[in-house]
């Protein structure tokens, strides 16, 4: 019964995409829309195969992922440090919190013209922008996580006469793990969004650039092929993070 239900659910789930694909094929075959507006699915697939065979797609993917890795690592480390500092110390929070929140209101892409003037449009621009994209959600969530440690848990530590270090490592940190993880996940999602944005607009390599290039040549098949690749990578990222989160969930400290 449950298997049958799962199968019927899966069929319902792919029915709509298949229907869209059929409509798309029909439109392309009958020539209702010009190729520059909507190339046939077969053409998109052929382009995808061609770019995989030539290795261009893999190269572009690696470049984009490398940028994400660098920017995310920098932003996450800085964000963990700063978030922990303002989360643990009310005084530091009063000092730096409002300034941080104020700066965080600026839409991320608005920093791009500033950074272009300051550091040019090379690798530094991308890594810094991706770093900021990661930093903001990490700080917000980490600080919240440290602030929201259940008082009951702190009291346990106080009763057991924990020194500040044990308090931090045995009580505060484990209790803040879910928030820290949420911050890192949002940071990674932001980093991934940002790398595509920067590459579409100011790059000569990477997946985003491949799309911008396809658009300039009026090759929508290339643009759509990259959309497919981005979907697959996005799915893999989310799936991996969801698995990791389930594993971490066992860790979570719940106040009684």
């Amino acid at each position: 019964m449950t298997i049958r239900r799962a199968v019927s659910r899966a069929i319902a789930g792919i029915a709509m995409p298949l229907l869209l694909l059929a409509a798309w094929s029909l439109i392309a075959r009958e020539g209702w829309l010009p190729d520059q507006i909507l190339p046939a699915p077969g053409v998109v697939l052929a382009t995808l195969k061609e770019f995989i065979a030539s290795g261009d797609l893999q190269d572009a993917t690696l470049i984009s992922l490398e940028r994400v890795a660098k920017g995310f690592a920098a932003g996450a480390v800085a964000g963990l440090g700063f978030g922990a500092a303002i989360g643990l110390s009310p005084r530091l929070n009063r000092l730096f919190g409002p300034t941080f929140l104020g700066l965080a209101q600026v839409p991320l892409l608005a920093w791009m013209p500033v950074l272009i003037l300051l550091v040019g449009i090379d690798e530094g621009l991308k890594v810094i922008l991706i770093g900021i994209a990661t930093f903001i959600p990490v700080v917000l969530n980490v600080a919240q996580g440290f602030r929201d440690v259940p008082p009951a848990l702190r009291e346990v530590g106080a009763v057991l006469l924990f020194d500040p270090w044990s308090m931090l490592t045995q009580i505060v940190l484990p209790a803040a793990v879910p928030s820290i993880f949420t911050g890192l996940r949002e940071g990674l999602a932001n980093a991934w969004q940002t790398v595509i944005a920067v590459e579409v607009f100011a790059s000569s390599e990477g997946l985003g650039y491949l799309m911008a290039w396809g658009r300039q040549l009026f090759q929508l098949d290339l643009v759509l092929a990259v959309v497919v690749v981005l979907g697959v990578i996005g799915f893999a990222l989310n799936w991996g993070l969801a698995r990791l989160e389930r594993r971490l969930d066992r860790w979570q400290v719940r106040p009684a």
Binding site: P17, W192, F218
Partner: protein, 248 residues
Amino acid sequence: MKRVLPLLVPLVALAVWEAAARLSHVSHELLPPPEKVAYRLWDGFAHGGMTGDLAASLLRELSGFVIGATGGVALGLLLGLSRPACRLLGPLFLGYRQVALFAWVPLLSMWFGGGEQGKVAFIALAAMAPSAVNTWRGTSALPHSYIELSRVLMFRPLDYVRFVALPGALPAILTGLRSSLIAAWLATVGAELFLDVAPGLGGRMNEGRETFQMDLVLASVVLLGLLGLTFSRLAVAAEKSLLKRRAA
């Protein structure tokens, strides 16, 4: 002392910035002193057409937001309230969500052009997803007993939406609308920076970057930040007053 503390960091930062601009050899085009940026902002509004840019950007954002958020709430209601629709469209929508937002810019600019239509289409797309996700989550989390009760009361489906689903899911929907507003603002800046030149704050920033006028770029950043702050303040206030009315 408590009141002064938050001002300390910005004041020190301003002082360092001022000192750096005056004492270093970096040209004022690249490192303008703070008062030059402030003057530029004031001058922009007084003589420089900044008001027109601001109005153009806001109008663009609001049109995209209204289209996108309306579509998003409608889609979310459909996904959350109708099981067949959820089975059919849910996976498709989740699949769409996997693709990074800015990947749609090249596609949309081919379909709608890089002018006003393309920009608003992109802003609407950006605003759609957060509203849809939150409305979906909020309506599907409603207790099953509500549906049973409305069956007993013989509500028509539209009555159920109006009297039960919408008020019941209001907190989630409002959260979605707030995220949509922020997403639309980001998309507005992105669209203005990257699509065809048109009046607007993003275009003004581009002009500043191309002509090496850092004071203009920074003045725009300050303005964009203030607007972002205003948006989130307004959204929170609207949310509070709506929820209060619901409770009453």
